[in-house]
Each structure stands twice: as structure tokens, then as C-alpha cells.
């Protein structure tokens, strides 16, 4: 919904054709756009201001590399500074202390502390072979301790038995004692959510801190947070003292500027990312990815990884081979539509690709959205097996039946069939041109990174994108599975 930085700068610099060093005027114009882009990405204003000042200093007088436009050059400088500020090193949770190592989880209500506690415990148990004990100090929220107990069962990590009537500090002490006596390596203490201006509750968590002297104090914060991120992070840091940040709900589609705000005002590293509700949905932090996301430049690395996970390589190979022989059935098309959905829908894919801002707008204009994908899937699944295999038999009355069965119009059915034909034709062509490699690329094999459409992309001046293919998206001209190539062969407007 918001323009990425590259687009914004594109419009500023479209007028500039000259080469050489970036002038002060150029940079000032660019910084206005940088400021807005960061604010729309939810970076807090004070952090934006300091950041922009710093980038301005760095940018004035810099030579524009021959291969890039001034806009791309500025994007690169901004990106590099952003990575630098987010922390160019990813830092793991520090367990360098005598066992049991206490870790304290703090944050606002509903940020994801309890879920993250279980995720981290599972990781430490499985990856680091640590013996972990979890304890909930949340005596406020209904069923909070029960929640942690259930999660503990799910991940195979012990939880401290629940005793009613204890204060959080008393529970914390009991947890540490149990940890010592029972030979635990790590004790993770989950706390109740609290607003950072609630003096009573902030004193409560300080009492816990003083009781156990935690080795890590992790602030768990929501990637959807807006400007308040600075206030919350500052207050928790000043009043409790944090050693790191865990950003949750990174699986959402926010730009995640809150991370920069919190890192900026506390100087504490972002240690982990929560990327889903499930107990395995936790990842190490990679500053480049988040920088790209904040700037709206897409996150190719994530897309590649996600696609690799989602797409069954063997199945892909089989499909590719079948298509080589020139048979691309409606079942194949349905399978492709499903893959797109698994990758988080069109929006999900688009959000992860660099330079797709413009394309996204075109799509919005063409009314292509996930609903359409679903409609197409519905149409195909309302066909009989025979019809899917041999669409030629689809006469008017069959089409009417399919439309009724899938809750669509006959026009929709026709459109799917037309699209299927286009795709089949295209597959054959690709097969001829690029041979098996190209087709396999289209379905999860190698294949090159497609060039972003219409030069809206990032060109040479950017940090290197990962090499190798974009599984499921390779081939020429950014071809999305199930859509017969984007933008060429793109299904027409739909009301």
C-alpha cells in the first residue's frame, strides 16, 4: 500500500540525468523522500531524523557509480546505513554464565512473550542440547500460566509447577532454586504484559530482576508497532535494563520500522524474530533482510528460502517433464495456483520481490488479487476429472454447471480455460527455447532471477542479491505460477 523507497526516489531522480557526484541539492531532495518512506515504515520520528542527518552527511559528494542511477546510489547508501544501524552482526542469545542461566522475558501486553518463551526453549533444547526450565510469573492474565504449561508439553520442556498466591519475584526465586537443584542449564522466566508507564508493574518486574539477576533480559515487541516503539523501548531499557530485542509477528506484512526505532534508542541488538504462531516459527535476525523490508525493496532472500521449503522438488521435476512433452493439464494449473497460495498469496510473493511496487499497482489496476486465484481454483475443482484432462469436451452446458458449482460466472470459467491455453502454449515455447532447465526452474529447480519489470528494479548498485534461482518464479519476465507470466500473458481486466 505504501510506496517503497526505490519508487519514491525514482520519481525524484527521474529528472536528473547528470552523472558525477551527488550534489547537496540532490541529496536534500532525496532525504525528504527517505524521511517519508521511513515514517510510513513505522520508524519513529526521532530515529528517522537522526538517521536522515547521518545519511545526508554520508551521501553528499559521493560519486555515482557508472552502472547505476543517482536514485539507486542513494538507495544503496541508505540501505547500507540501515544495515549498519540494525546491527551488521547477528547476535545469538548469550548463555555464557554459570548454570542455571536466567533469561527474563518482558514487554507490552500481547506482544508474544509466552509464545516466544516456548519457541526459544525449544530451540535451546533441540539445537544447543540444553536442559531448559520455563516458569510463568504472570499472575495477571487469565490462564497465562496454563498457557505456558501447555506450550511446555508441546515442545517437551519442563515448566515450574504452578502454586497460587505467590508474587512474581517469589515464583522467580523458586524457579531458580528448582533450576539449581534439578540441574537445569537455562531458566526462562515469562512475565505478565505491562505498559511501560504503569509504575506499579514496572516496579514489580524490577523486583524480579533484582531477585534473580538475569543474564539476558529480552524485550519482546510486535513488528506491527508504530511510533510508540521508542517510548516503550526507552522505558523498558531505562527502568529494567534490556540486553536484547525479539521482534514478533514478522510474518505479517508490516514494514517493521519499529525494530529500527527500538534498536536505535536502546542500542541493544535484535536477537531473534518470531515468524508465526507455531512453536518452530522463530528465526535468527538478518539485518539486510529487515533493511530491505523497511525500505520496501523486497526480501528476495526470504522468498527464495520460503519457496524452497514449500515446493516439493520432485513433484516439480515431474510436472516439468510432463510439460516438456507438451501436456500442461488443468490439474497442473490448479497445483500452481495452490503453490502461489502457499507462498502467502500474491501479496505475499509480491511483497518479497524487489522492485515490484509498480507491478503491484498494475495488479491492483487489473483487479488481480488472491480472490481471483481462489476463484480460479474453485472453477477447476468444480470440473470432473475427465473435464480436467480433456477440456475440449467443455460445451456450454458443462461450463454453466461448473460456474454454478464454483459460485462463479460462465465468463470466469471461460477465462480460466483461455488462460490455461495460453499457459500451455507458453510452456511449450519455454520448453523449446530453454529446454528442461528453464522449465525445471519454473517449478523449483535452477533458473535465473527474473529481471524486475520496467526498470523499476534495483539494478547494479545494490547489495548483491542472492545468486541462484527463484524457485517457482524463474523464467522470463517474472512469471508467477498459475498466472501465465506477468506481465505478459496476464489475464485481462475483471470486474
Amino acid at each position: 500500500m505504501f510506496e517503497g523507497l526505490s519508487e519514491r526516489l525514482g520519481s525524484v531522480f527521474d529528472r536528473l540525468r547528470k552523472r558525477g557526484a551527488l550534489s547537496e541539492a540532490d541529496v536534500t531532495a532525496a532525504m525528504r523522500e527517505v524521511r517519508v518512506a521511513l515514517l510510513e515504515a513505522d520508524v519513529a520520528l526521532p530515529v528517522v531524523k537522526t538517521f536522515v542527518d547521518r545519511v545526508r552527511e554520508r551521501a553528499i559528494g559521493r560519486e555515482v557509480l557508472r552502472s547505476v542511477t543517482p536514485g539507486q546510489m542513494v538507495v544503496k547508501i541508505v540501505h547500507d546505513e540501515l544495515v549498519d544501524m540494525l546491527g551488521s552482526d547477528s547476535q545469538a542469545i548469550n548463555l555464557n554464565a554459570p548454570a542455571p542461566v536466567p533469561i527474563l522475558m518482558v514487554g507490552l501486553q500481547g506482544g508474544g512473550k509466552t509464545t516466544t518463551t516456548a519457541k526459544i526453549a525449544k530451540r535451546l533444547r533441540e539445537r544447543d542440547r540444553k536442559k531448559v526450565l520455563m516458569a510463568s510469573l504472570d499472575v495477571t492474565r487469565p490462564a497465562a500460566r496454563e498457557q505456558l504449561r501447555i506450550l511446555g508439553e508441546q515442545v517437551g520442556v519442563a515448566t515450574l509447577p504452578i502454586i497460587n498466591g505467590e508474587t512474581p519475584a517469589a515464583i522467580a526465586k523458586r524457579a531458580m532454586t528448582a533450576g539449581r537443584l534439578q540441574g537445569y542449564d537455562v531458566v526462562i522466566l515469562d512475565t505478565a504484559g505491562r505498559t511501560s508507564i504503569d509504575e506499579g508493574l514496572m516496579a514489580e518486574v524490577r523486583a524480579v530482576r533484582d531477585a534473580v539477576n538475569p543474564h539476558e533480559v529480552l524485550l519482546v515487541a510486535d513488528a506491527l508497532t508504530g511510533q510508540d516503539a521508542v517510548t516503550t523501548a526507552t522505558n523498558f531499557h531505562e527502568r529494567v535494563g534490556i540486553t536484547g530485542i525479539v521482534l514478533t509477528r514478522v510474518d505479517g506484512d508490516s514494514r517493521g520500522g519499529a525494530a529500527l526505532s527500538m534498536r536505535g534508542v536502546t542500542g541493544m541488538p535484535i536477537k531473534m524474530l518470531g515468524v508465526g504462531e507455531k512453536v518452530d516459527d522463530i528465526e535468527d535476525f538478518h539485518p539486510e533482510r529487515l533493511a530491505g523490508r523497511i525500505l520496501g525493496m523486497g526480501d528476495v532472500v526470504s522468498l527464495v528460502e520460503k519457496a524452497a521449503e514449500t515446493i516439493d522438488a520432485e513433484e516439480a521435476q515431474k510436472t516439468a517433464e510432463r510439460m516438456m512433452r507438451g501436456s500442461f493439464t488443468l490439474d497442473d494449473m490448479a497445483a500452481q495456483l495452490k503453490q502461489v497460495r502457499k507462498l502467502g498469496g500474491l501479496g505475499g510473493i509480491m511483497g518479497m520481490l524487489p522492485g515490484v511496487g509498480k507491478l503491484q499497482k498494475q495488479m491492483a489496476g487489473a483487479n488481480v488479487d488472491d480472490k481471483m486465484l481462489k476463484r480460479q481454483e474453485a472453477v477447476i475443482s468444480s470440473m470432473t476429472r475427465e473435464e480436467r484432462r480433456n477440456p475440449k469436451i467443455l460445451n456450454a452446458s458443462r461450463r454453466k454447471r461448473i460456474a454454478a458449482g464454483s459460485g462463479t460466472q460462465v465468463q470466469d470459467v471461460n477465462r480460466v480455460l483461455k488462460q490455461h491455453q495460453d499457459m500451455a502454449r507458453m510452456m511449450k515455447q519455454v520448453g523449446k527455447m530453454g529446454g528442461k532447465g528453464a522449465l525445471a526452474g519454473l517449478f523449483g529447480g535452477g533458473g535465473g532471477m527474473p529481471a524486475p519489470p520496467q526498470g523499476g528494479g534495483m539494478g547494479g548498485g545494490l547489495p548483491p542479491m542472492p545468486g541462484g534461482g527463484m524457485p517457482g518464479l524463474g523464467g522470463g519476465g517474472m512469471r508467477l505460477p498459475g498466472l501465465g507470466g506477468l506481465p505478459p500473458g496476464f489475464p485481462g481486466k475483471r470486474k
Binding site: M1, F2, V36, L39, E40, A41, D42, A44, L45, P46, V47, T50, G87, Q91, N94, L108, Q109, G110, G111, G112, R141, P142, A143, A144, E146, Q147, I150, L151, Q154, T195, S196, I197, H215, D222, L224, T225, G226, Q227, D228, V230, T231, T232, T243, G244, R249, D251, G252, D253, S254, R255, G257, G264, G267, M268, E277, R341, G344, G345, G348, K374
Partner: protein
């Protein structure tokens, strides 16, 4: 303990940022008053005003619009801080007035009045259900709750506690059950009990997860099989600390499940919820109530004047 980066350059950077921040929070603390002791409203001042709005999450666009309005009226005039704040608050209240619509379950022939609570993870759905249940039972209605979050650990147990607190029966199924099936059964049971209101809790979900959004759409389809009018209200619960992503949340939930109104939670914290102003302009959905704490009585009507004044830091 701390991992403060050691390089002198980095230090300089953080130190500078902290200085900047201290400056800006001082400015905030003093409010706009410090900007004017009766002085001319010039471009620089306007920019600072705009910044204040941005830090309350109104968003760049809305902040710019409001500032431009003010500029039209008052540019180059001598103004005091109080005047400016009052002018801003009035503008904001005017934007909000049309969307301040309380949520009141209507008396309907085909009981119960079904309320579906939706929203992203952790926004406050379950807690808000407890609060609404209390308000409506106090108003003499019989209320039944449905534990439609069959996914999250202890979500059912949590709602059960709210059921006890508000004195309302809770309809549940085992963890992992189909949410749509639960909703269907809950409507049957609420009807048998002749309840006035049925409030259905749902699992938190991010709007960009197509599969989960589809699941929610299915809950609604299943309800409609019994009562084509149901759900009579679909309330999107927004976390008051949310930033610009709220736009995407409202837009997508609206498209997928036809949201009829918003409740904004956690306004007792340091966040000011300014996104509501931008949403009022872009979406115009009713804002039913605001959450101001974790207690059962901490749900207040949405009052545009009070909200606008608190955004602008006007006391009382």
C-alpha cells in the same frame, strides 16, 4: 551483561540519537505550548506541529492534511500554543464524530444477536469479549460466549475465566476442533438457551495469511446457514500501539469478513492510537469503544472530543 557496541563511531551515533531523542521528548512533554509563546505561525513551526501528529501515529498524509488546514486559517497570525492545540483537537474531533457509534445489540426477532470478534494476534479480542459480556449482562441481556479460538494454547481456558467473571456460559470444544463447527454449534445452543446475544471469539490471525482469512470467511458462511443475518456485528479489535499496518488490517479484514466496526485497545499505555484518525478518514468504519486496561470494566465508549484532546495533550 550489555552488548553495547564498542567502536567509537557507533557510540557517537547512539549518543547523538539519545540527545536528539531527549530533545524531542522534552519538546513533547512541554507540548506545543513551548513552540509558541504567542508567536507567528510560520513554516518551521508548522513542520514541528506536523511532527507532533506523526509521533502520535496519525501518519504522514493525515498529519500533513491537518497541518495544511491549520495553515490556511492561521498562517502568519499571532497564535498561542493553547489556541493551536485547541484548533487541532477540534479538527480531529470533527473527523472522529461521525464514526463514534456505540455497539448495542439490537432486539431482533430471530435471537440471538451474533457478534463475531476478529483481529490480529494478541490485539485484545478475548479480553474485550469479557468486558462486553459484563456490560451487556449489566444491561439485562443474557449473553453466551463461544470459545472459537481452538488453536492457541489455553485460549479456551482464558475465555472460561472471562465467562466466570461476567457470569456467562461458555460454549467450547476441545483444542484443535474446527472453528466453524464450533461457531455453528454455539449458535444452535445459544438459540436453545434463548440467549439475547452470542459473542464468538476467534483465533488471532494476520491479515496477510490467506488460508487463515479463508477459515474466518468459512465461520461466517456456516453461521449464515442458520441465520442469513448472522453475524449481526463483526468487530475488528485493533491494538492501540499499532502503526501504519492498521490500514492493511482494516482493509483486508473488511474485504474478507465484512467488518462492521472497530474497538481499539491498550490506550492506557503510552501509545496514543492516532491511527484511528487516519482510519476514520480512509475507511469511515464505526469505532465502538476503547480498551483502557486489563480489568473487566476497562472498556469505555469512544468519545471523539476526549480522544482528540488526549492526542493533543490537552489535560482533562
Amino acid at each position: 551483561m550489555s552488548a553495547e557496541p564498542a567502536s567509537p563511531e557507533r557510540k557517537g551515533w547512539f549518543a547523538r540519537l539519545r540527545d536528539g531523542l531527549a530533545k524531542s521528548s522534552r519538546r513533547l512533554a512541554d507540548g506545543i505550548t513551548s513552540l509558541f509563546v504567542k508567536r507567528r505561525l510560520d513554516a518551521a513551526t508548522l513542520e514541528e506541529l506536523e511532527d507532533l501528529l506523526i509521533t502520535a501515529d496519525l501518519g504522514v498524509e493525515t498529519a500533513a492534511k491537518l497541518t495544511a488546514n491549520l495553515a490556511r486559517e492561521k498562517f502568519d497570525k499571532e497564535v498561542t500554543g493553547d489556541e493551536v492545540r485547541a484548533a487541532f483537537a477540534a479538527d480531529i474531533a470533527a473527523i472522529l464524530a461521525p464514526v463514534a457509534v456505540p455497539l448495542e445489540p439490537r432486539e431482533i426477532a430471530n435471537k440471538p444477536f451474533v457478534v463475531l470478534m476478529v483481529g490480529v494476534n494478541g490485539s485484545g479480542k478475548t479480553t474485550t469479549i469479557g468486558k462486553l459480556a459484563r456490560q451487556w449482562t449489566d444491561a439485562g441481556k443474557s449473553v453466551v460466549l463461544a470459545a472459537g479460538d481452538t488453536f492457541r494454547a489455553a485460549a479456551v481456558e482464558q475465555l472460561r475465566v472471562w465467562g466466570e467473571r461476567s457470569g456467562c456460559p461458555v460454549i467450547e470444544k476441545p483444542h484443535g476442533a474446527d472453528a466453524a463447527a464450533l461457531a455453528f454449534d454455539a449458535l444452535v445452543e445459544a438459540r436453545e438457551r434463548k440467549a439475547d446475544v452470542l459473542i464468538i471469539d476467534t483465533a488471532g490471525r494476520l491479515q496477510n495469511k490467506a488460508g487463515l482469512m479463508e477459515e474466518l470467511a468459512k465461520v461466517i458462511r456456516v453461521l449464515k446457514k442458520q441465520d442469513p443475518e448472522a453475524p449481526h456485528a463483526t468487530v475488528l479489535v485493533l491494538d492501540g500501539t499499532v502503526g501504519q499496518n492498521a490500514h492493511a488490517q482494516v482493509k483486508t479484514f473488511r474485504e474478507m469478513v465484512n467488518v462492521t466496526g472497530l474497538i481499539v485497545t491498550k490506550l492506557d499505555g503510552s501509545a496514543r492510537g492516532g491511527i484511528v484518525v487516519a482510519l476514520a478518514q480512509s475507511q469511515g468504519l464505526p469505532v465502538h469503544a476503547v480498551g483502557v486496561g486489563e480489568g473487566i470494566d476497562d472498556l469505555h465508549p469512544f468519545e471523539p472530543d476526549a480522544f482528540a484532546r488526549s492526542l493533543m495533550g490537552i489535560e482533562g
